[in-house]
Symmetry: C2
Subunit: 112 residues, 2 copies
């Protein structure tokens, strides 16, 4: 059982910090378009596995994502409803801004 | 002359990082309701002057605020229009969320 902050314990500054890292932003953007929980192994990102685990922990402990064990895998889901309740419009504006920035800037992946 | 990022050089992750600190959030909230540039000495915050200078620098270098010298004082203004252009709705949702969180939580200052 992994520790998650209750709704009342989620803090804006922790959420903003969690979202202020480019790798974590990419994770959150991918979750935002997923219809179900995603395993950590789903995410192909240019970082070591231990680093990825750290990023998921920051996202969970700040209240941005929910992680549950399914067998030995962790499934990850955005706490979009909780965040919307606490900070209306925030996640949407961050996701939109992140999408536009990714389109505007040369990314680390080859084009197409 | 203080260095400021040009509009195209402002990055979402740097802005979110700048906003992810409670002291910097309080500074930004005060600037948001000010009609003109505010001197650093305007802000009464429970931190040392050197710490405050650091916070203003983080805000400036991320593109959140504009600082200009007026004599020996620095005047500070939010780059609200620039941020709105780059990240529509983001600053507003952060300011609203920060205001609600400040009202919801027991603050460091005495009530009233």
């Amino acid at each position: 059982m992994l520790a998650h902050p209750a709704l009342d314990d989620i803090r804006l500054e922790h959420v903003l910090h969690a979202l202020s890292d480019p790798i974590r932003l990419r994770i959150v953007r991918q979750m935002a378009v997923a219809s179900a929980g995603l395993a950590c192994s789903y995410f192909e990102l240019p970082v070591a596995k231990s680093t990825l685990t750290h990023h998921f922990r920051v996202l969970r402990e700040s209240g941005v994502i929910h992680q549950i064990y399914r067998g030995t895998a962790k499934l990850n889901e955005l706490r979009a409803d909780d965040l919307e309740k606490l900070f209306p419009g925030l996640l949407d504006s961050v996701l939109r801004a992140a999408g536009e920035e990714a389109a505007r800037l040369p990314g680390p992946r080859p084009a197409r």
